[in-house]
């Protein structure tokens, strides 16, 4: 309790502050407030080494601070810490638009969901109709951007430079897509269902810069699982996640999860709009893997990303490497795992960078399309540097590989995740 410096402090501070007032120059500190050193504002040409992308926190309506990739159209990444639980809070759920005319205000007195095209009886349904005329159903399902983790690619590819946070899990409640289609009566000759929402862009009619439109094959079994959702984790959808309703396509990437869904069209010819014919296509190869050379040679056949489900993935949330651990102090290694191919049956943790593996404990099962939490108790006894790793296995036997993937779209990343940590001494 004997700190003579503190009395000195007070007097020196007072003198210093008074002397300084009004006469000292403008000092612009460049230090990041989050760390001892500022991060650069971009990564590359090497892979982004951070869990999230390197972007500033920004605040949007109905959202907690998220990481801004782009601000018009809007692309916001969810910070790592929100993946500690199986369900991602609506306020933290990532946002990904393609175009910039994003609804700020929607009037449900004139909004209608239209089921049209090759159907017996076109439907024009109000929200009231959806709430009262169809049975509500719920599903826990992961919504993941096709380009999640794109910043890992080598060589880097252009596009949204996501870290791992372009994903989220929610309980989606709404009406079965097939219940709507049954009422409309889909006619023979239908080959695809087309989905379109209220968001638009300023580009010329018929171009991808004018409207975002996606289609699913009429014989795709996922249609039986699809929900037109008006509720997300027990609340109405945030505007930036698709109010008033969005399409939920369990197991598929979010490019098909149309926000502000307003038109469902039964097509008699395959959709050849930009967002099907040109964008969101993957090499027709195992894991969608190819090389820049094969692409340049023009010999890579591609298919829509909807032809596959989301590959199995797992993530380390804690520890995040931003603080040292303490030798002898137990730490809970934990995170989430999921697969578009069904139930996660095993998660394994490595403490030596992937040489040896130990089985982690799985959290509650919320259905085949949901995040599943996992945890592993670790008491690091020796100070030093460690590389943690995690890999998941799904019920189909798919196991996360340790090889990277490459394709020009930056899609389908699911390599084993690693986390470097430093363990310090306890005395």
């Amino acid at each position: 309790m004997d700190n003579p410096m503190h009395r000195r402090n007070f007097l020196q501070r007072a003198a210093g502050v008074l002397a300084a007032a009004g006469m000292l120059p403008w000092v612009k500190a460049q230090t990041s407030s989050q760390t001892a050193e500022a991060l650069p504002s971009f990564t590359g040409p090497g892979p982004n080494p951070y869990w999230n992308g390197v972007n500033p926190f920004v605040v949007y309506p109905q959202k907690l601070p998220l990481l801004r990739l782009t601000d018009r159209g809007i692309q916001l990444e969810t910070p790592r810490q929100y993946f500690r639980t199986a369900f991602t809070p609506n306020e933290a759920f990532f946002v990904r638009y393609h175009l910039d005319l994003i609804p700020n205000s929607i009037d449900l007195s004139s909004w209608r969901l239209n089921v049209e095209g090759n159907v017996e009886k076109p439907l024009t349904l109000s929200m009231q109709d959806l709430l009262t005329r169809f049975k509500p159903v719920s599903v826990a399902a992961v919504n993941q951007c096709s380009g999640n983790s794109r910043s890992r690619f080598q060589p880097r590819v252009a596009g949204g430079q996501w870290g791992n946070g372009a994903m989220g899990n929610a309980i989606w409640t709404g009406v079965r897509l097939m219940d709507l289609l049954q009422e409309a009566g889909v006619k023979p000759g239908t080959v695809q269902l087309q989905f379109q929402g209220l968001d638009r862009g300023p580009g010329p009619e018929g171009k991808g810069s004018n409207a975002f439109i996606k289609s699913l094959d009429w014989n795709d079994p996922v249609l039986q699982e699809c929900i037109v959702a008006y509720r997300m984790n027990g609340e109405p959808l945030p505007m930036l996640n698709g109010f008033p309703v969005r399409l939920v396509v369990p197991g598929k990437f979010s490019t098909y999860w149309m926000k502000h869904l307003t038109w469902i069209r039964a097509l008699t010819k395959p959709d050849d709009n930009f967002w099907m014919a040109t964008a969101y296509r993957i090499p027709d190869t195992p894991r969608g893997n190819t090389t820049p050379a094969d692409i340049a040679a023009g010999k890579v056949k591609t298919v829509p990303i909807g032809n596959v489900n989301m590959p199995v993935r797992s993530f380390i949330v804690d520890p995040d490497g931003s603080s040292k651990l303490v030798a002898g102090l137990p730490v809970e290694i934990r995170g989430v795992a999921f697969s578009g191919y069904g139930r996660v049956t095993k998660v394994e943790v490595s403490l030596d960078g992937g040489k040896t593996w130990r089985v982690a404990q799985l959290g509650d099962y919320h259905g085949p399309y949901s995040f599943r939490t996992w945890s592993f108790q670790w008491k690091p006894t020796q100070p030093g540097r460690y590389t943690l790793a995690v890999r998941a296995t799904d019920e189909k036997g798919n196991v996360q590989p340790d090889e990277p993937v490459w394709n020009p779209g930056g899609y389908l990343w699911n390599r084993i995740e690693r986390q470097d940590v430093v363990v310090g001494t306890a005395s």
Partner: protein, 138 residues
């Protein structure tokens, strides 16, 4: 963080135009405003809202960093920002010169951006001068 505040006026025009949309139920769209990182950002209760069918949120905030200075910058700010803010440029990793050329061509040919040939060349040259592995500094 410097931003293009002048862009707001342009966006205001875009936003006003967008109000004549005939999309069902779309009452307001593409309303952007300058973001305000240091301000008080707690949610304002909507208790003054009417119990009618209109569901609204505030304007979308912009957080656009400054582009590198150099010839062609104004053309980039003009043409590229017709469809998107320049965060689409600054977000990217350093990309090879050929990739930037391909990106500009993609915007014109695939997305329908109406950029004159000469302007497109200057835009490509600007991007290559500031945003490749050899040239990128900020």
């Amino acid at each position: 963080m410097k931003r293009y505040h002048w862009m707001l006026l342009v966006l205001l025009g875009v936003w006003v135009m967008a109000q004549d949309s005939s999309l069902p139920g779309l009452k307001e769209t593409g309303n952007y405003t300058q973001g305000s990182l240091g301000q008080v950002l707690q949610p304002l209760p909507v208790t003054n809202a009417q119990p009618d069918g209109v569901y609204s949120v505030g304007a979308w905030p912009l957080y656009t960093p400054e582009l590198a200075d150099g010839p062609g910058k104004e053309l980039v700010m003009g043409y590229c920002q017709v469809c998107h803010s320049t965060t689409y440029i600054t977000m990217q990793p350093p990309l090879p010169a050929a990739t930037w050329d391909a990106e500009v061509q993609k915007m014109i040919k695939t997305y329908g951006a109406q950029i004159p040939d000469d302007a497109a060349k200057q835009i490509t040259a600007y991007l290559q001068a500031h945003y490749t592995p050899e040239t990128r500094k900020q």
